[in-house]
Structures are given as C-alpha cells and as structure tokens.
C-alpha cells in the first residue's frame, strides 16, 4: 500500500469513476448479522474483531469520507460519535485492506471525534465501531471508491524529502471557539512519519504505534492506537465540545521502532 511504485501519472482531467451509492443510514434495530454495506463476510468479520461482544449498526456513529478518492494513499476520514453513546473506545477499520485495523481512539477530555487520513487498497467500506459502557459496539460506516492501485497521483511532492532527520517532527495548531463558536476548541496535529505498512517488497513495517494528548493541567484528552494503514505523515484533528483545554497540549507517543514523539503544542 506504500507509494513505492513507479506509477506516477496524475489523473489530471481524469476523473471519477462511477460512484457506488452509499448504503442508506443504518438502523440500530437492523439485523446485525446482515451488513448494509453488503459485505458477505460481515458475520465472520465481527466475530474476529469483536468476539462475542454485541455489535449493532448505529447511525449515531458517523464516518465521513469522500465518495470518490483518486489518491488511495491519502483518503480523508472523520469519525464523529454521538456523545449519548458514551463511547470509551472507537475502533476504525477498513474491511478490504490487507491490514484491516486503521486505528483506535479513546476520547477522554476531548470529544468523541477524530479526523485522519487512511491508505485504502481498494474501494470498500470504512467503518468505525464505538464501544459503550455495557460493552456493545455501535458500528457506522461509509463506502469509498478509490482510483485504484495508487497510480493516479504522483509520488512527486508527497511526503518529506528529508524525513529521516525530521522523523516524528510535529506541527500543529489549536483553534479556540472554532467553527463559528460551535466547538470549544479544535487541534490539528501533523507528524512526519513514513508509515510503511511492511507490505511493499523490501520495506519493513515502520509506523507510529501510539499517541497520547494531554492538556496543560495534566488531563488526558485523547489516546490513539495507530496501525499501518494510517496515511504517511499523519494528520489528526481533535475536538473539544464544551471547554477549550489549557495550553500547551503535550503530545507524546512512539513508533514500532521505539522512536519517540514528544511535542508541546502552544497555539
């Protein structure tokens, strides 16, 4: 899934692929064994991912993504979970990726919302499952059509030329009273990291593994468990619904080779 291929054509003027219709909003009362996204392996999939836990489709778990993404290596996704669910953990996965888990996040002081970019191997569903206090997983999803094969955008200009020296470099910004005052605060965080999946020949897996965001008062805001399919140079957007966190925010984390992330986000 990594962009170490020779395909370099940018699909200038080349466009969109017939869009598959996204499935109608899921109904929590719908049969959880029948996938609204039409994945025949859904029952097996849920057993593998969630064991014996109860799994329901729930439109209160919103997964936002473009219907069509020409660049399958940087597909933007946002997950918004209704606070009424009381989710302590949200698991994001892509059914048709060779590595199915994308990430998990645990909203603490921050809202149950996370935006990021994902690598998709092919068109298919992107889903989020939010776990409530009773242990039930509430699943929402969307369908993304990709340009296919990662060949529609050039490797040119993607990523960092000097990423080795800038590994785990953080850039960020916090917006207080964001979005016309509808949100107490938002933070956007970018981390320089190649996020190699280990699936491209000769390139071992090299990816961020966990991130933790804490505010200046020491309160946990968000924890993120990161898997290989998160896109190169990850960009995360985190939100606070009611009160802006005291700054600076402190971001810490580690990749699978033990390289640390450590940054103070002052603005």
């Amino acid at each position: 899934m990594r962009a170490r291929h020779h395909c370099s054509g940018l699909a200038a003027g080349l466009a969109v692929i017939a869009m598959l219709s996204t499935a109608a909003a899921a109904d929590p009362a719908a049969d959880p064994a029948v996938d609204p996204m039409g994945s025949a392996a859904w029952a097996d999939r849920t057993r593998a991912l969630f064991g014996d836990a109860r799994v329901v489709f729930d439109p209160r778990v919103e997964v936002l993504a473009p219907k069509s993404a020409e660049d399958p290596l940087q597909v933007p996704v946002a997950v918004r979970v209704d606070p009424a669910i009381g989710a302590d953990r949200v698991f994001v996965f892509a059914d048709y990726n060779p590595i199915v888990p994308v990430l998990s996040f645990e909203p603490r002081g921050a809202a149950p919302y996370l935006a990021f970019r994902v690598k998709l191997q092919q068109s298919g569903p992107v889903r989020a499952a939010a776990r409530d206090a009773a242990g039930t997983w509430h699943v929402g999803h969307t369908w993304v059509v990709t340009g296919g094969g990662g060949c529609t955008l050039p490797a040119l200009g993607r990523g960092e030329k000097d990423w080795e020296t800038r590994l785990n470099e953080v850039s960020a910004r916090v917006w207080v009273d964001a979005l016309g005052g509808t949100t107490a605060a938002r933070a956007r965080i970018r981390i320089v990291h190649p996020m190699d999946t280990g699936l491209a020949p000769g390139i071992p897996a090299f990816h961020l593994r966990e991130l933790r965001l804490v505010d200046a008062a020491g309160a946990d805001a968000m924890r993120i468990e990161v898997h290989e399919p998160v896109a190169e140079n990850p960009v995360f957007t985190v939100e606070w619904a009611h009160a802006a966190p005291p700054l600076p925010l402190v971001l810490t984390g580690v990749d699978n080779n033990g390289n640390r992330v450590d940054a103070a986000i002052v603005r």
């Binding site: 020779h6 395909c7 370099s8 054509g9 940018l10 699909a11 200038a12 003027g13 080349l14 466009a15 969109v16 692929i17 017939a18 936002l64 993504a65 473009p66 219907k67 069509s68 993404a69 020409e70 660049d71 940087q74 933007p76 996704v77 946002a78 935006a115 340009g147 296919g148 060949c151 529609t152 050039p154 040119l156 470099e169 953080v170 850039s171 960020a172 910004r173 917006w175 964001a178 979005l179 938002r186 956007r188 965080i189 970018r190 960009v235 957007t237 402190v250 971001l251 450590d262 940054a263 103070a264 986000i265 002052v266 603005r267």
Partner: protein, 315 residues
C-alpha cells in the same frame, strides 16, 4: 510481462467479452465545426471521462493553411487522433505540418502518436511533465474508457514552443507560453483570423480542473488574455465563443475556490466537512461541478491546511 503486453492481453480479454456488433463501433462521430475562415473545432462534451463518451470531453481544433494543416491538441486516445486526422482529410488533402499541445493533460495529448513526431510542439514544461506522468495517464485512460484507448501510447512533443509569431501558409500564429492551469500552458492565437486557442486556461459551462493549477498565475494569465483583441475564443472545454464571459467565469471559479479553501483551512475546518460544502448557485449549472469541486478540495486542501500549522517543539 511489459506494460504494453499486459495491456494487450487485457484489451484482448475485454474485446472478447463484448458483443461482436460493438467491435467496430468505436466511433467518436467527430464533426468539425467551422468557427472562422480555415478554422475548425471538434467540440467535446461537458462531462467526465466515461466508457460511454470514450473520453470525448475535450475541444481540439485545426487550421487549414496554404502550406498544410495546423492541429491544436489531439484528444484523449489514439483512436480519437486517428478519427480526427480522418475528419481533417475529408476537408483537405494537405498534410498536417504542425501539432500544438496546449498543455500536457491526457485528454489533450494522447492522440499525439498519430501525427509525425517531428511536428508535435509544446512548452518545455509540458513535454517534461508528459514524459514524467504520461504512462500513468495512459493506464488511467484505459481504466476509464477501456477499449476506446486501444493502441494509445504516449508521444512526447519533440518541438519546444517559444514565444512569438510564426507564419505557416499565410496564417500568422502567435505563441504565448503561460502558466496557471499547469506549469506549461501554451496559448495559440491566429492573428490572421483572430481565433485564440487557449486550452484549459479557460473552461466554459464545465467546472475547471485543478490538479496542477497555480491559482495566482492562472488569474494573472486570464487577466492578460482578457485584454487581447480576439474574435473567437476556443476554450479547452465548452463551446467556442465571442466575448470574455468564459474567461470571467473561469476567473470567478478560481477566485471563489481559492478563497473558500483558504478560509476553511485557516478556520480549522476538516477536509471531510469542506467536501460537503455546496457550490455557489452561480456555478451550479456547470457540468460535473460537484465532482470537480470535490476533486479540487482533495487536491488542494491538504497543502493549505498544512500551511496553517506551526512547528511544535519538544518540551
């Protein structure tokens, strides 16, 4: 297996899978429209590439001079180029003596291989970009229009366009290298007829594409074009027209898109939110405007969003 061999196998498989009566139906039905003396345009549809339209979504043109034919852009496939050349031949026995590419995008250049390599001319930037990206363009065109693209290969222009007038068979063509839609746009103005072939610097009735665009340069180029005495403008997409309405509409789209995305990035909105914003009513009637807006957001927003971030140092 080479790319070409693999493609041949795939195409053979696809050809086998379709009914026989379709096999000879790869006809773009190109109808040249005479827009000025000696000057003809094949007007494409205001659509995206589909199997149904075969990629005929672009304008190409030609000028029949006393010394031969000057072609402007060659279409999305070799089939298109062949049919274009055949349609020209029905109007004149004269050979094609020069082929200009207005820029390197696939719908404008993938018919190049039909014409003598020594006649094909573009800016140095366009030639370099096509050399770098052409193979990907061809792969993608096969994916989008399938058998329509049979035989299509990249032919990089061999002649480097320079600014200034050249006279061919009594027509004086002014070449202007510009930048904005891509790094290497070329505008061809026939001073003898007043027709300007402006490529994708101007769209009419179809939302502009922006994958290689430089918004500020593009606006500057449009402001320059607008001052020129031109009788007929031939945009890259949309009908040829008199007057500057299409220039102004393209300018307005770039203005709106650029400002909208910058504001969104500066205010911390997420790209998935921006994707859902409606296009203003004044653009809403354009062909494929929603899809093109989404493509532009996906192409342009990440860089604008990144520009808003500041380095956060270790504690």
């Amino acid at each position: 297996m080479t790319r070409a061999a693999l493609r041949a196998v795939l195409v053979a498989a696809l050809l086998h899978a379709i009914p026989a009566h379709c096999a000879d139906a790869w006809d773009y039905a190109l109808q040249p429209q005479e827009i000025a003396p000696d000057t003809w345009v094949f007007v494409g549809r205001a659509e995206d590439f589909t199997f149904a339209n075969g990629g005929n979504v672009v304008n190409t043109g030609f000028v029949i001079t006393a010394a031969g034919v000057v072609v402007i852009d060659t279409g999305p496939t070799v089939r298109y180029g062949q049919q274009m050349r055949a349609a020209i031949r029905r109007l004149t026995p004269l050979p094609v003596v020069r082929v200009f590419n207005t820029h390197h995008h696939p719908d404008h250049v993938l018919g190049n291989a039909v014409f003598a390599a020594s006649t094909v001319e573009a800016t140095a930037e366009a030639a370099a970009a096509l050399r770098a990206e052409g193979a990907g363009f061809v792969d993608n065109m096969f994916r989008l229009v399938r058998q329509w693209a049979t035989g299509t290969e990249v032919a990089v222009p061999t002649r480097v366009a320079v600014d200034g007038p050249i006279t061919i068979g009594g027509h004086t063509f002014e070449l202007h290298r510009m930048r904005g839609h891509t790094d290497g746009d070329l505008v061809i103005v026939d001073r003898t007829t007043g027709v300007a072939f402006v490529g994708d610097l101007v769209f009419d009735g179809r939302a502009p594409t922006t994958p290689h665009a430089h918004p500020d340069d593009w606006r500057a180029a449009l402001a320059t074009l607008r001052r020129w005495p031109v009788s007929v403008w031939v945009p890259g997409h949309g009908p040829p027209s008199r007057g500057t309405d299409a220039i102004d509409a393209t300018h307005a789209w770039i203005d709106w898109l650029d400002a909208h995305l910058r504001t969104a990035a500066a205010s911390g909105r997420d790209i998935t939110e921006v994707l859902r914003d409606p296009v203003p009513a004044r653009f809403a009637t354009w062909g494929v405007v929603d899809a093109e807006y989404a493509r532009s957001v996906l192409q342009r927003f990440p860089a604008l969003e990144r520009a808003e971030l500041k380095r956060a140092d270790a504690r």
